[in-house]
């Protein structure tokens, strides 16, 4: 039983990081990055390719995953910086589709649709993490570190400026704040964390393929974000807890097997629509969706 809970905990940690880092961009800075899952995927692919093909030690691959996602985050902000909010969101979404298309078609590097199998369990300073409990502890540490980092950032004066950029970018600019650089930094930090989560994911599932980083995961991340609330890291944690656990509970109800799957999807989407209708700020949200 503990192994089962550990694995659920691992998933919660991974999705908490994904949703929390999306919150950093979306909730705090107002960058509606609908391509967030692409960066999650970039991290997963980087880590998997480095460890499987090049036998790079886990820790190096782990940080490389964040770095690669971060670099792409910077490139995306730089080239889309002139677009207005909605269009930035759409361009980011298109980037996600594009990333999946590249994962699918760059076969020599990503194995295309076959995916990358046999991603090793992490080995940190000679200590190999094999048990689910050990991995859960590691994932928890990473999650705690990422949230501590994001908390330091958002609670600081820097965090206030990010929120100022969200509320009124021109007003922030008039106060002498370099809005473009702030957006870049924020998105790099956000995508870096998503990349780390990707690495955690790849070494947990030990097999990745392009379709793991597509719309369904984006919906999960957005649902967590919205259920938890914008501009609240605590909300993202709570959201991840709720959204990962509820569908798991369905497994234990006496429902015919072939009904469970679609039912789970229906529950997910019903929660999403319901929360938008009834409590659009989510549980802990501080700001309205713009």
């Amino acid at each position: 039983m503990s192994a089962y809970f550990s694995q659920i905990l691992i998933l919660i940690c991974i999705y908490a990081i994904v949703a929390g880092s999306l919150n950093l961009a979306f909730g705090y800075t107002g960058l509606v990055n609908l391509g967030h899952i692409a960066f999650f995927g970039l991290g997963a692919y980087t880590s998997a390719i480095l460890t499987v093909e090049y036998q790079v030690p886990f820790m190096a691959a782990f940080f490389a995953a964040g770095a690669v996602a971060g670099v792409f985050g910077w490139v995306i902000t730089a080239i889309t910086s002139r677009l207005k909010g909605d269009y930035f969101a759409l361009a980011a979404l298109a980037f996600n589709f594009l990333a999946v298309a590249v994962f699918l078609n760059w076969i020599s590097f990503t194995h295309g649709p076959l995916g990358i199998a046999g991603v090793p369990r992490p080995q940190i300073f000679g200590l190999k993490i094999l048990s689910p409990e050990g991995y859960a502890a590691f994932a928890f540490l990473v999650m705690a570190a990422v949230f501590l980092f994001m908390r330091r950032l958002t609670a600081s004066r820097y965090g206030r400026v990010l929120e100022a950029v969200r509320d009124d970018a021109l007003g922030a600019e008039a106060l002498g704040k370099n809005v473009f650089r702030l957006k870049c930094q924020c998105l790099v930090a956000s995508t870096f964390c998503a990349g780390l989560a990707g690495s955690l994911f790849a070494h947990f599932i030990q097999f990745i393929d392009p379709y793991s980083f597509y719309l369904p995961d984006l919906i999960v991340a957005l649902t967590i974000l919205i259920v938890g609330g914008l501009a609240s890291l605590k909300g993202s944690l709570a959201g991840a807890l709720i959204i990962i656990i509820i569908p798991e509970l369905l497994r234990f109800l006496p429902i015919p097997d072939h009904v469970v799957g679609p039912l789970r999807q229906a529950v997910y989407s019903a929660i999403l629509i319901g929360i938008l209708l009834v409590r659009p700020r989510g549980i802990f949200g501080k700001v309205d969706l713009e």
Partner: protein
């Protein structure tokens, strides 16, 4: 201090500014007047960098600004307010005051590792000085219009600056607040601030300005002392449309 040289700006075929030239002298208060649509706010936006002119130059403290971003101009010492108050609606009064002070808050890593102490009393004094009777932790969306105007002026003043640009500082506020703002500005003027302001209220301008520039349809029509300009027939014509 500030020179505007031959600025033109075209918005989709409409000439908003047609070759304007004027300058703002250090230590004096200059007022831009003109009817609606004369291009006053557009000129402000050109000076602070939010709008790029089609031709011409903006020179500030001997430096050409044309290639600089708005935030760079702000950091050179141009501090401005907006006609429509621009505040950050989910942040508190204190957040606003702190943010306008310096640029420590844009340093990514230093903010993670360092958390400077905040002296609340300092900011409470600011509120008192500007007569904003609210607590520091009030979210700005709860403020009245007059209070927001005052807060915006307070922020502009707290920024390290050489030139203060005020876009209609007393428009839309009641007479009490208006008097407050006017006294504040007179006080600043006596301390030698360089101010460039836009306003419609002729009496207000007459009491405050050392120098008045009248704009109409994107052209500077008169440039001189308040008495000269406000009694000029062209100005009356532009305003009354006769």
């Amino acid at each position: 201090m500030l020179q505007i040289e031959n600025i033109t700006k075209n918005f989709g075929g409409v000439e908003a500014i047609k070759g304007s030239d004027f300058s703002v002298v250090e230590g004096r208060t200059t007022a831009l007047i003109g009817p609606n649509g004369a291009g006053k706010t557009t000129l402000f936006d050109i000076i602070s960098g939010f709008v790029r002119p089609d031709t011409g130059r903006v020179i500030f403290a001997g430096e050409e600004l044309n290639k600089l971003q708005p935030f760079q101009r702000a950091n050179l010492g141009i501090s401005r307010t907006f006609q429509q108050v621009r505040l950050f609606r989910y942040l508190t009064i204190m957040d606003h005051l702190i943010m306008s002070e310096d640029s420590f808050d844009t340093k990514f890593w230093r903010n993670i590792f360092k958390r400077p102490r905040v002296e609340r009393s300092k900011y409470e004094a600011v509120l008192e000085q500007f007569g904003i009777e609210r607590t520091l932790d009030t979210v700005v969306s709860d403020l009245s219009y007059g209070q927001r105007k005052l807060l915006q002026i307070a922020m502009a003043l707290r920024r390290p600056h050489k030139l203060l640009m005020l876009d209609e500082p007393v428009a839309g506020v009641n007479s009490v607040v208006q008097a407050k703002i006017e006294n504040l500005l007179l006080d600043l003027k006596s301390k030698g601030e360089t101010i460039l302001l836009i306003d419609h209220d002729m009496n207000f301008v007459r009491r405050l300005a050392d120098h008045v520039i009248a704009l109409d349809a994107g052209v500077v029509i008169v440039d001189g002392t308040p008495e000269q300009v406000l009694n000029d027939s062209r100005v009356l014509e532009a305003y009354l449309g006769v």
